[in-house]
């Protein structure tokens, strides 16, 4: 975490932040929370359909953790929002597709257990490194959410990396299937380290995480597990991006129409 800023936003009461500062902080929070929201949603789709009861329970548990984190982030974002009527639910459910800031990786479909685990694995490594830095944020609320989430995400990482080892070094079929998923999803990893304007502003304030510094250790962390799992580390040089700017894959519209169904069909009601 670098803190080379002269203004420490976190010490300012929300009311004293400039509109620009509030906007950046708000967008920064969405950038973090939308990843958990969409990945939690994807995992939730699988509930009751896992390859075993134990993996089903674990997948649901991870989804639950992610939604719990989302609630903390969005409750905070609702306080910062310029919209006085904003709540965790309006932020979660009532944005249009272009306003969601999650990376493309987390919206990729549950093609099979291999893809689900690889998506989780590639995200968990990043998520864990990210939270360890966010814990040092100048923003006390974000630091507290990070602190609580690290425990959960450490477990997610252990679960997904253990399964990478099992599938990679299991049978011939599992090796092939998980290798295919690794190769396919690899192109979404680079975007994890991209920075938006809001990200850069928050890094300058000592609130945001300097993600470019995490990149090397991230690839080292996942490569070690892949090698242990007898899997090849892809050499792909071409990557996809866009999610952070709100330009998503074709999957995203369907995720949202599912997720937003009730709020869109029955507006302004309490549940």
């Amino acid at each position: 975490m670098t803190n080379n800023s002269t203004t420490d936003t976190s010490s300012l009461p929300l009311g004293e932040m400039s509109e620009g500062q509030r906007g950046n902080l708000y967008n920064y929070i969405l950038g973090i929370a939308d990843n958990s929201l969409i990945l939690g949603q994807r995992l939730g789709e699988l509930c009751g359909h896992g390859p075993s009861l134990e993996t089903d329970i674990a997948g649901t548990n991870i989804s639950l953790d992610l939604f719990g984190q989302v609630r903390s982030y969005f409750q905070y974002a609702a306080q910062i929002s310029s919209d006085n009527d904003a709540t965790e639910d309006t932020i979660a459910f009532l944005r249009i597709e272009r306003q969601y800031r999650n990376v493309l990786l987390v919206e990729q479909p549950n093609t099979d257990f291999g893809y689900t685990i690889v998506r989780q694995f590639l995200f968990d490594a990043y998520h864990l490194l990210f939270l360890r830095e966010l814990e040092k944020s100048n923003d006390e609320t974000l630091a507290a959410i990070a602190k609580k989430s690290i425990k959960e995400v450490s477990y997610h990482w252990r679960f997904s990396s253990d399964w990478i080892r099992r599938l990679g070094d299991g049978t011939e079929e599992s090796h092939e299937r998980v290798q295919e998923a690794v190769t396919d999803l690899w192109m979404y990893t680079d975007e994890l380290f991209h920075q938006t304007e809001a990200d850069q502003a928050m890094i300058a304030e000592g609130i945001g995480v300097e993600t470019s510094k995490l990149k090397e250790i991230y690839y080292k962390m996942i490569s070690e597990v892949l090698e242990e799992a007898t899997l090849e580390v892809p050499e792909g040089k071409y990557f996809h991006k866009g999610g952070k700017q709100g330009i998503h894959s074709e999957y995203m519209g369907y995720i949202l129409s599912d997720m937003q169904y009730m709020q869109r069909t029955y507006p302004n009601m309490e549940w």
Binding site: Q41, G44, E45, C47, G48, H49, G50, P51, S52, L53, E54, T55, D56, I57, T60, N61, S63, L64, F67, G68, V70, R71, F74, E88, D89, A92, F93, D112, F113, R165, R166, L167, D169, G170, T171, E173, S174, R177, D258, M259, Y261, M262, Q263, Y266, M269, E270, W271
Partner: protein
């Protein structure tokens, strides 16, 4: 063992049950006791697992983050119940794979209620309130049943179920106090789930083939009809509190009996669903079997990996 010796063991066994002693996995038990328990416990475990599907159907569409989290947690609890019930059942000398096989081939049954579709959000409320409510009535007596592992599993299950029931009632309360559309949604869910919930408590005593023996083994403490009456007596005031109408024109308080009288249950519908021809039987089985078959390569990989790991460990030991 001679016939006389078996008879002697049976007498000791029945006397232990009569004294409310718990029967444990390693104790001698009549074959019929073992089989009846495998049937009932596995049926219960399967119901938990299949029961995840109708509610899982609404996780992706839950109307708020709070509701989504609560629903996920509830369905996860059901998976947990399945897990400890399967474990209790395995103590009777049957493997989890055999139990799954019985479910997937249709040999084993699960609760007929889960063969109804969940078509609106209000169904999440109605299932919690009515289906879990009926389940609790069925299950509380099982906390003191004679087979130790089952009784202990049920103590935990019941605690969580009563939490689920309150959660379901709270969903209904919010809808009933909401907009006219929400109230209609709640009433519609009650209309669809009321009768299947009554059927869920099992056929009438006259039709129930297992009741007498199960009562003796404390696998059942009240008959199906007694449980049904208890459920109705308990639920009608709750519906009044919600301002919803129970879809039974014959429902009436009877001063003399101190219970509600109620209308005729459509047992043809019950048997149709039990025999596999309910609205969602095919889909539920397709989902269960599909998940199992699609997961084969994953389970095989986990086994192969565990074996490799074990072998490597032994190789290292030998080298030292």
């Amino acid at each position: 063992m001679s016939e006389k010796e078996v008879k002697n063991l049976e007498e000791i066994f029945e006397a232990r049950i009569a004294r409310d002693e718990k029967i444990e996995p390693k104790d001698w038990m009549p074959e019929k006791y073992r089989k009846t328990h495998i049937r009932q416990i596995s049926q219960h475990a399967h119901s938990e697992i299949v029961g995840m599907l109708p509610e899982g159907n609404w996780i992706s569409r839950a109307p708020s983050l709070r509701r989504k989290v609560a629903l996920l947690a509830k369905v996860q609890d059901e998976a947990g119940h399945g897990l400890y019930l399967y474990s209790a059942c395995e103590t009777l000398g049957i493997s989890r794979n055999e139990l799954y096989d019985q479910l997937h081939t249709g040999k084993a049954k699960y609760s007929s209620i889960f063969n109804y579709p969940t078509v609106t959000w209000a169904d999440m409320g109605a299932i919690g309130w009515l289906v879990d409510g009926a389940a609790i009535i069925n299950q509380v007596p099982l906390c003191s049943t004679s087979y130790g592992p089952y009784a202990r599993a049920m103590i935990r299950v019941c605690k969580e179920e009563s939490f689920h029931q309150r959660q379901g009632f709270e969903i209904m309360l919010k809808l009933a106090n909401g907009t006219p559309e929400q109230k209609d949604m709640a009433q519609d869910a009650l209309n669809r789930w009321w009768w299947p919930s009554l059927m869920m408590l099992g056929p009438t005593d006259a039709e129930s083939v297992h009741t007498a023996q199960s009562m003796k083994w404390k696998l059942k403490r009240k008959t199906n009809d007694e449980l049904r009456q208890q459920f109705i007596d308990q639920t009608v005031p709750q519906a009044d509190l919600l301002g919803l109408t129970i879809p039974d024109p014959d429902l009436k308080w009877n001063e003399e009996t101190g219970h509600y009288d109620f209308g005729e249950i459509d047992w043809d519908e019950f048997w149709q669903v039990v025999k596999g021809y309910g609205p969602s039987n095919k889909k539920r089985m397709k989902d269960r079997v599909g998940a199992w078959e699609e997961g084969t390569w994953v389970r095989d990989a986990a086994m192969a990996y565990a074996e490799k790991k074990e072998k490597r460990k032994n190789d290292i030991k030998r080298a030292i």
